[in-house]
Structure formats: C-alpha cells, structure tokens
Amino acid sequence: MRAVLTDVSSPLLWRYESRRVGVAAQAAPAAALAVTLLLTAFTANAGGSRADIERLLLTGLEAVVPLAVAVATVTVITRDRCRELHLALPVRYVTTLGRRLATLVGAAAATAVIYSAALVATGWWSGPAAPASPLVWVPPLLALGGLAMILTVVGRSVVLASSGVAATWLAQQLYAASLASHAGSRPFFLFLTSRYGTGEGWLLNRFALTVTGLCLLAVAVTALSRPGAAPGEEEQ
C-alpha cells in the first residue's frame, strides 16, 4: 500500500492525481489563453497597433495564466471530499495535495511554454530574450498561487479565497501606474513585463515576486500540515 502511494515514478499515480484535479481546472489556463487570443484577434481586426497586440499577447502569459492557476488552486484544495480518509493513510495529506497541484502547474507550464514558443516562432514575442521567457509567467504564478493557497487555508472558504485573488488581480490592473511608479511597490507589481517592459527594476521585481510566492507557499504548507486545516467547499 505504502509503495503504491509513494512511488512518484508510477504513471498510474500521476494519472489518478490528474483525474482528481479534473479536466476543468487543468484546462483553465489554456481556455483563458484561448479567450486572450480571441480578444487579440478582435483588436487586430479593429486596427490595433502592433505594440498593443504584442502587449496583449504578453498579458495572456503574465496575467491570465497565473490568474487561472490561482483560481484552480483554490478549487483543487477545497474539492477533496475524502480528507479524513487521507489522514488515515501512510502519506501526509500535504504530499498528496502537492502532487495534485503539481499536475495543475505542470499543465499550465506546458501551455505557457507552447504559447511562448509559438509567439517567438511567429515574431509576436515582445518579452525578454527567449531563454528568460519563463520569467514572464513563473514569478506572478508563484505569487498569485501562493496567495490563493494561503487565503484558502486561512480563510477556509472558496468564496473568500477566490474573491481575494480576484480583487488582488483587479487592483493590480487598476492601480498599475501608481504601483509601478513607487519604489516600494514596484517589486511586488505582478504585471511589470506586459505593462512597462523589461527595463529598470525588472529582475528585482521577478526576484521579489518569486520569493514572496515561495514564502506564501511555505506558510500555507505549514498550515496545511495541521490535521483538518484544509477547508471543504461547504465549509463557508
């Protein structure tokens, strides 16, 4: 039993975890990017400038993919109906949850890499040099995903966590100018690449977002290690 539950090289285990996460959650980043491409096509059709189109395409990667992963994270944590059973198994619940989130992030990463490669190949890429392209989406994904996890665990509510993530995302979009112009808030601005390019302070911003995301994840994992800490969809 223990071998089956802990053999991370087993495709069966990953297939099972992937099914537990669900098609909808795993497809959310791809679906959100598809909507972004549709809006980009609208913009191009309406005579949008090349700069606007490139910025919009980059927004899909930097803003939309992290949002999709964050909201899907809330769902993955809260949808498990067998948590009590997990607590009786010889594998820590947080390990199982980690595997499930890995399948979610893996699907999002594959989507983001294919999307970035397609933009580079077609000449629509306006971000940093191609090898650094993951820096466009990984830091905001970690920061927003970490926020989603901590809000879900602490708030114990799908609504609270989803609303918190949504409000943070919208507030960063609405107050982009003031967040990017202040030295104190610029490192924590999620959408620096698509809004203001890779100029001054970009690397510091990516570093600060990554560290913030990892810290939030570490706190969430610590909190989840307590038995019964994770909320369910009806614990609202």
Binding site: G22, A24, A25, A27, A28, A31, A32, V35, L39, F42, T43, N45, A46, G48, D52, L56, V64, L67, A68, V71, A72, V74, T75, G155, S157, V158, V159, L160, S162, S163, G164, V165, A166, A167, W169, L170, A171, Q173, L174, Y175, E233, E234, Q236
Partner: protein
Amino acid sequence: MIRYEFLMQIRKRSLWISMGLLAVITVLGQGDAGPRYLPDDASARVVASSWAFLWSLLLPIVAGMVLADRLVRDDRLGVSRLLESLPTTATTRVMGRFLGALAATATPIFLATVIAGGAESISREDPAVLLWTPIAFGLVLLPGLVFVGAFAMVVPLLLTAPLFRVLFVGYWFWGNMLGPSYMPSLAGTLLTPVGDYTASWLLGERALYAGADGWLQLLRPEPNGVTAALSVALLLGVGLIPLLVGSRVLARRATA
C-alpha cells in the same frame, strides 16, 4: 424557496467577510477622484451616486463568486434528484434560487451604501444624501447585480465553477474597466454592468467610459436619462436569458 435560499445565503460568513474586506479596500484605495474627496457643496444626488458607483467597481465580483456555486452544488451534494421530485418546475426552482440568493448577496452591498450615505449625511449635514442612497443603489448597482447574478448562477452549469470564476474576473476587467480605445471592449456600452450609464446620468458627467467611441458604436449613445433607462432595461432583459437557459438545462437533465 426564495425565503430559504435567502436565509441560507445570508448566513454565509464568507459573504460578509469578503464583502467587508473588499469594501474597506475600496474605500482606502478610491484615490482623489473618489466620493470621499467630493467638494463640500456637491449635491446629495452626486454624493450618493458616487458612492454607489464606487461600490459597483469591485463588490459585484464577490457577488459573482458567491453565486457561482448555487446551482452546481446540488449535483455535488447529490440532492439534484431529490429537488427534481418536488412539485415545482425547473423554472420555479431556478427563479426562486436566483431571487433569494441575489437578495441575500445584495444585502451587504446595500448596507455598505447605506452606511456611506449615512456617514455623508452626517458629515455634510444634508439628510437628502440618505434619501438618494436607495435610489442610487437601485439604479447604479441593482441592474448590474441582476445581470452578473444571473450569469454567475447559470454559466457554471455549462463551464464548471472554477473556469467560470477565472473568465468572470477577466470579463469584469475587460467588459467594464478597459478603455474602449485600447481594444474592442464592452466597457462604456449600454451593457456595462458596472452602472456606467446610470451613474453618468446621475452625476451629470461621464463616470467611466459611458458613450465613449469604440466597438459596437450602436450600443454607445450619449449618456442621459433615456439611455440610462435603456441600459437598465437591457441589463435586466439580457439577465433573463441565462435564467431561461438554466431552466431548460435543469428540465432536460431531470427528464434524461
């Protein structure tokens, strides 16, 4: 059914906490153009409308998140078949749930509007602000809440709740706050649930993008009393469409 749905929703702690936190953030982050910085001689109508419009920027997001699981949870809890056995039609069930849940979800927003109106009424020594508060709520906030609530309840039946929540946040930004000059957007049209037209009419100046040139020019008339009424009618009318679709979907599932 409306009463039960209302009571079930109004007791949800997450509804009150989410609305409360977001209301505080909205007040603190309103900026120089916010209602807190209106001149002392601003009319009661302008003050009440400014607050209603400020709430309409972000609080409906929570409404959408809360309402997104009201119909899909029946399947999750395994009570769909039980509900289908009741002597009511699918339309009655959908409408009952919609009205009850929407009334409960709108209650914290209404309270926020009343509190802001009351505070302004006291600080400006003008009781008329409090009188204008429910009017501003009914015209600026309520049609958008009906529109958002109807889609939030029914679309997850077709897309699942997590996917709906992702797309809803993106839609809210694109369809309300993204300037129509940047890209084709529903922002500034009669179908803007943020209450742009009614707020512009009440304020006597453009609240956000109402009537600004852009995509679907036919839906971008100059904001005035008539077009504000048209916007309300359109939001309520289009909001009925998902409810009818939801009723059909549930009725079909019941007979499948």
